[in-house]
């Protein structure tokens, strides 16, 4: 695992361990260097001191050429096991005695070398003059193995390792204890944050353990939670109020709508009675007084009758539209293809010479209010017939598309079509895209279609282009 992805607890442990280890190592190395230097110095001094003692003691032996005595003096070196070789040279530089006595003569220099002790290879060796007053009596050669130095180094290494292990384990224990001060609040904070995001419970609070930056972080975290909670509360409250308001308004609107529908129904109803009177009297005028009227009066009478009839249609449509709005739908299974055939016969009875080409798919049955859906088919098919009537070869295609949970029907013609930018006006009451002079109509048919389909839980839409026909779609849920 890379360092940056480690848990914070291990990161802290690693950092502290690394610092301790490095410091200890640096200290041990410097102590070791210092120790080895001073040990070398002291071994040099020690050997030199031993040499001085031996030189001083061996003056008489050299002067009186007493080998036995000189040997005994050198034999005292047994007390210092690291001195492995010692040789006394006489005044002329010839080896006088050597230690140990069984030593081979090849094992030491045959003639004295320059004064002083030095480190060579793995030993310390050197020459020291034997002097009495100003008189040079001879030379002492001594060689010491560095066994004691190595022994010292080994002891040092053992002690250093032990101390290091001890202090590192102590540091480890202390770190384990002390890192909790930092890691525990962070882990607690992280745990709280995770719990909150999992359970979406913003009422939980992190526990503050200290007054340091972690403490203020906890405070800030808790403050944020508080704010979120408050905002949530306000939002909920607002939502509830809004819902309430919406439902209130909806009820108000529904009531208003009902009132309006009742109003328009009664108006339409009431308007029909005087209209019937007008039509009745105009008919009487036409039938009984036609001989007494001149041509102009007869023309005007016809215009009055036509307009009155038109107004009657308008009122009928309006009544149908408002009735549709007031009536509840009753769903039954509708045999759509039978219904469509019936409707075609009804709306195009005069198309006996097969002027219109019908392309009809085998349409599936659907569920819906039988009268309302028939009205939809009547309105859409009659529109198609109406708007393609002026074509030389009108083609009307009726088909369907099955979708998940719904069936989409379409009625396509190759008539005059319309400009799609007026699409939004299509299904509004009394909205017409063509003039009454070109095509008859009251502008209520598509509004009724829209209302019926909406009541069934479906949708209505259209595609068209000017001069290229139109296609109306409506969907009914299964």
């Amino acid at each position: 695992m890379p360092f940056k992805d480690m848990p914070i607890r291990r990161k802290l442990m690693r950092i502290i361990f690394l610092i301790c280890g490095t410091a200890l190592l640096a200290m041990s190395i410097s102590l070791f260097i210092y120790g080895s230097r001073s040990f070398r110095k002291s071994s040099l001094e020690k050997l030199s001191t031993i040499g001085k003692i031996i030189c001083t003691n061996s003056t008489a032996a050299l002067i009186f050429e007493n080998r036995q005595d000189a040997k005994e003096i050198l034999a005292a070196l047994k007390a210092e096991p690291h001195v492995v070789t010692a040789v006394l040279y006489d005044e002329k530089g010839k080896p006088f005695v050597h230690y140990p006595s069984e030593l081979d003569t090849n094992a030491f220099p045959l003639r004295p070398g320059p004064e002083g002790f030095r480190f060579a290879h793995s030993r310390l060796e050197g020459f020291q003059p034997v002097v009495m007053e100003t008189r040079r009596l001879g030379t002492l050669y001594m060689q010491s193995d560095l066994g004691d130095m190595y022994e010292e180094f080994r002891n040092y290494a053992i002690i250093t390792t032990l101390v290091m292990i001890l202090s590192l384990s102590l540091a480890w224990m202390l770190t384990r204890l002390l890192q909790k001060n930092i890691s525990v609040p962070i882990l607690a904070l992280a745990g709280t944050a995770r719990m909150i995001s999992d359970k979406k419970d913003y009422s939980v609070r992190a526990v503050k353990r200290s007054k340091d930056e972690l403490g203020s972080l906890t405070d800030a975290f808790n403050d944020m939670l508080e704010q979120i909670q408050e905002q949530n509360l306000a939002l909920n409250e607002f939502n509830q109020k809004l819902e309430q308001k919406v439902s209130e308004r909806t009820i108000q609107l529904e009531n208003l709508n009902k009132e309006l529908e009742a109003f328009s129904y009664s108006i339409s109803h009431d308007l029909r009675a005087p209209l019937r009177g007008i039509i009745g009297f105009v008919t009487i005028l036409e039938e009984d007084y036609t001989s007494r009227l001149d041509d102009e009066a007869r023309r005007i009478t016809t215009i009055i009758k036509n307009n009155t009839m038109k107004m009657g249609h308008l009122i009928d449509d309006l009544l149908a539209f408002s009735r549709m709005g007031r009536k509840d739908i009753e769903k039954t299974t509708i045999s759509t293809s039978a219904m469509v055939e019936e409707v075609i016969r009804e709306v195009a009875p005069d198309d006996k010479n097969g002027h219109i080409q019908w392309v009809i798919d085998s349409i599936p049955d659907v569920k819906g209010d039988i009268n309302a859906v028939r009205q939809v088919w009547i309105n859409l098919i009659s529109n198609a017939v109406k708007y393609s009537a002026k074509k030389a070869a009108p083609v009307i295609e009726i088909g369907f598309i099955s979708r998940q949970g719904e069936t989409i029907f379409f009625i396509k013609d190759n008539g005059v079509g319309f400009d799609e930018k007026y699409k939004h006006k299509l299904f509004k009451v009394f909205q017409r895209l063509h003039s009454t002079d070109d095509f008859e109509g009251t502008g209520v048919g598509l509004a009724i279609v829209e209302k019926v389909i909406a009541k069934h839980g479906g949708r209505v839409w259209a595609e068209a282009a000017v001069g290229k026909g139109a296609c109306f779609y409506f969907s009914l849920p299964d």
Binding site: A60, E133, T134
Partner: protein
């Protein structure tokens, strides 16, 4: 005839063979006399001043020839020049630090020792029984090497301090052993 010649040769050679170690012996003994000076400490009163010479005297027949003089010439012991003096009679001995007594008769030796009793003079001789007579150092030959025997009691009585380094090389004379 051949045997006679060999025998003659042996006879002729005898004095030569005998004389050679003798002269070497005294040559060594002369060196010893000088070297003793380095391991013996005299009381300050033994020198009239710090510049005064250390005197090595010989009484009786001089066995060293000029050898002793050659050895000490130019040498210094503790800052003192070293000089050699020869005496015929004990009465002639003035300032002296080391005295080699080469008198064959024990009686004469004892007379000299008696005379020098209270003076700080290191007495040396190669006469056997010299320590028993009250002398301080006797030189003798052992294993073809010159050795010496020291009568510490006498040297101490004379106010002389002999270095332990020297004593380590010496045989120590103990009166009880000899009496």
């Amino acid at each position: 005839m051949r045997y006679v010649f060999v025998t003659l040769l042996l006879i002729i050679n005898l004095p030569l063979v005998a004389q050679a170690p003798l002269s070497r012996e005294y040559e060594l003994k002369a060196v010893f006399l000088y070297n003793f000076a380095q391991f013996v400490e005299w009381p300050p009163t033994a020198f009239s001043n710090s510049e005064a010479p250390l005197i090595i005297g010989v009484i009786g027949k001089n066995p060293f020839g000029t050898r002793l003089k050659d050895i000490v010439s130019g040498e210094k012991v503790n800052g003192h020049d070293v000089s050699v003096q020869y005496y015929d009679n004990a009465e002639d001995i003035g300032t002296c630090h080391i005295l080699f007594i080469n008198l064959p008769e024990a009686k004469k030796r004892e007379q000299v020792l008696q005379l020098l009793k209270d003076r700080n003079i290191l007495t040396v001789s190669d006469a056997p029984g010299f320590p028993a007579e009250g002398g301080m150092i006797r030189l003798f030959t052992r294993d073809n090497k010159i050795r010496f025997e020291v009568n510490l009691e006498v040297s101490r009585a004379a106010g002389l301090s002999i270095s332990s380094k020297l004593l380590r090389l010496a045989d120590l004379f103990t009166p009880s052993k000899n009496s």
